[in-house]
Amino acid sequence: MLQPSYAECLDEDPDHTGLDDASLVRRIAGAGTAGGEAEAELYRRLSPRVRFYGLRHLRDEQAAADLVQQVLMMTLERVRAGKLRRPEMLASFVLGTCRMVVLDLRRTYARRERLLTTFGEDVPLADPSSSPRLDHDRLLHCLDRLPEREKSVLVLTFYDDRAAAEVAGELGISEANVRVIRHRGLQRLRDCVTRGGTS
């Protein structure tokens, strides 16, 4: 059975945003060099997901941005060439690619750290600050309204992303207690911040 041409697909459904990920992959695979808009849609969808994965594993905005660029380039190349044989497994493929690229990035950054340690004083540092995605005035207002226990647990946790067991040891309370306080505090914060709107 012949697959519909890219042009026929567009006639039927010009808006790629209505397709699920697997259908989008199939459309790109069949489009050859004409699949620009479908590729842009796939990029738009995958970019925040891969970025979040990067933030979780690399804990750095710039590193996460590097991850997005590399992973999406590799993914789009594969999809374009029709080599993603099971489009329903796109997320699984992207996960495997993320893991591989993270390992590579960690090696790269480790080398860079060693160089900076040796020659760092001669290198002008880029400003690491970026505009916050969240309204910090609102977040501060909401943090100030939290019960003290919840605020302390959240500060001790998220200053450098500590697990409950570690925070529990520092405060002299049980790990289960920390998890309950943490969850409650975050829930309150999230509700307060979203009530006020985010930037």
């Binding site: 209505g18 699920d20 990920d21 969808r45 995958l46 925040p48 997901r49 891969v50 970025r51 979040f52 994965y53 933030l55 979780r56 796109l90 997320a91 699984s92 992207v94 996960l95 993320c98 916050p132 995605r133 969240l134 910090h136 977040l139 501060l140 943090l143 100030d144 019960p147 003290e148 226990r149 605020k151 302390s152 647990v153 959240l154 500060v155 001790l156 946790t157 998220f158 200053y159 450098d160 992303d161 500590r162 697990a163 409950a164 040891g169 520092e170 405060l171 002299g172 309370i173 943490r182 969850h183 975050l186 829930q187 914060l189 999230r190 911040v193 979203t194 985010t198």
Partner: protein, 191 residues
Amino acid sequence: MTTTRCAEPIAFSMLIDYWLGELGQAEETRVEEHLLGCGACTASAQQLADVAQGIRTLFTQGFVSAVVSDAFLERAASHGLRLREYAVPMGGSVQCTVGPDDDLLVTRLEAALDGVEQVDMLMLDTHGKGVERVRDIPFNAATGQVVMSPRTAAIRTLSAHTAQIRLLAIDREGERVIGEYTFHHSPWRSS
């Protein structure tokens, strides 16, 4: 799967556990595979990451007060934060200030905490009048002190004044004072 809504969203508590690396390997893989296939759940997870980053930023810039711990302060110092610490014995006082290069003020309030169930902190102004009561602060009785970082950014702007903190032990019989501490604050003076 569309990006607008998820039929089986990942629970918020699981997103927190995932972000902090508290899931087992198999569960972590399951969550990651779901997130990479779901824009809606990724958006929720990103909101969590943004809140975490916001807390970190606001605290290190001195806008948030919190009871902390020795281990926490060691980590903060190892990350390059400049701490100005004041240890105050029960009934004691201290001359204090905040320098322009100080990132965080830290106060260590010595207190007899054994057997105490709940501690409230009462802030008093120059005239001994209570201006703020912070209820049920966390404390580690084994350390014999309450370690806290006040709102450094706000204190930096204050003119010379005296302030007091009173720690109260709360139990079924009522409340009793377990420590009073006096701070004589002066604005920073460069030498």
